[in-house]
Symmetry: C2
């Protein structure tokens, strides 16, 4: 996204930003975007509070930057690999299985970053909530669109409402993520089975 930077000063700043955000997403996935305190982050990274916040201005800007960083990781981990597969059922399954791996492999130590942060800010109006709501909506829409493509490919019954199926499938994923963190070890298998059964129930080919 960013063009190659040759100025060593800007390069240094970008590197610091990267390190800070890399730590921020992990911290926030466990302790939330509120638990993401500037002093704590600076302490863990052995840099000064003032030097850290100078990159973002305010805490809210740091939170928004953290959301963008987490979104980029999610795209790289879950979405990009799936886009290598052809549209339709195969891509849909890759997306869903990729999500389960993203959660169960603990790409973020606190499980899905967005499940954690979205629940934290869902009932609190503001820029942070809006950003999280948009990411969530993008994700659900991607699943629905992929379902629609599978229909166009003749792999899923045309009578199925893509948004409805996407609601069900993403619900399974989120439930597995939460209950795994709460100590249920069987829940990823359950989610996989529910997902498979649900897809088989609407399969055509």
């Amino acid at each position: 996204m960013d063009q190659q930077v040759t100025d060593g000063r800007l390069r240094r700043g970008d590197q610091t930003r990267r390190v800070v955000l890399g730590r921020a997403v992990d911290v926030a996935s466990v302790d939330g975007l509120d638990g993401l305190s500037i002093g704590r982050l600076a302490g863990e990274l052995d840099i000064s509070k003032s030097g850290l916040i100078a990159h973002f201005g305010t805490k809210e800007e740091l939170q928004l930057a953290t959301i963008r960083a987490a979104r980029a990781i999610f795209v790289t981990t879950v979405i990009q690999p799936a886009l290598a597969h052809p549209p339709g059922n195969e891509r849909l399954r890759t997306l869903l299985e990729g999500w389960l791996a993203y959660s169960s492999d603990r790409r973020f130590p606190g499980g899905c970053f967005f499940a954690r942060a979205s629940h934290e800010y869902a009932a609190r109006p503001g820029a942070v909530r809006d950003a999280l709501a948009q990411v969530d909506e993008e994700w659900v829409r991607l699943i629905a669109e992929t379902v629609a493509q599978a229909q166009e490919a003749g792999e899923i019954e045309p009578s199925v409402d893509p948004a409805q199926l996407a609601f069900d499938l993403t619900a399974f994923l989120d439930a597995a993520n939460l209950r795994s963190l709460l100590g249920d070890d069987s829940v990823y298998e359950r989610a996989y089975r529910s997902m498979r059964d649900r897809l088989e129930s609407v399969a055509l080919s």
Copy 2:
């Protein structure tokens, strides 16, 4: 649970506890069990910080008491009314529809208290997480047991795994709760439809 208290001093204390916890569950449903600060709570209720915390000892004890208070509200709002119905499909539907109403009516201003709090503490070991995990497990188990009773009544196919069906159904509920808070107005209808379709797919009678 508590026996009738005649001592006016203890009565006064119980009343204060009740007022504090009544406010605490609402605050925590929006701002989380961390956002539940003693100073804020005392300020909103016009009592002293020291007088408030004297009832609970520490903040963690206040959090645990808040979880117990929220659980009592949940039982009264969702579970008790359903227990008036006969075991089986009827009770199961009442539980699920009662939950959707509990969420959409905003019995807690931040939506489901436990969805909010569970995600907040899911990845943070301690007494608070354990208490939340237990409430969640109780709830899912109740749904699974009610499914099993519906099987015994010949209303649901005996081949169905009650825990698997309970996983699906509770997943729909939680997804509706979150996405409603994030601004999706159609999501309770979607959850209702998914729930109904899922139950019809395993119905016997």
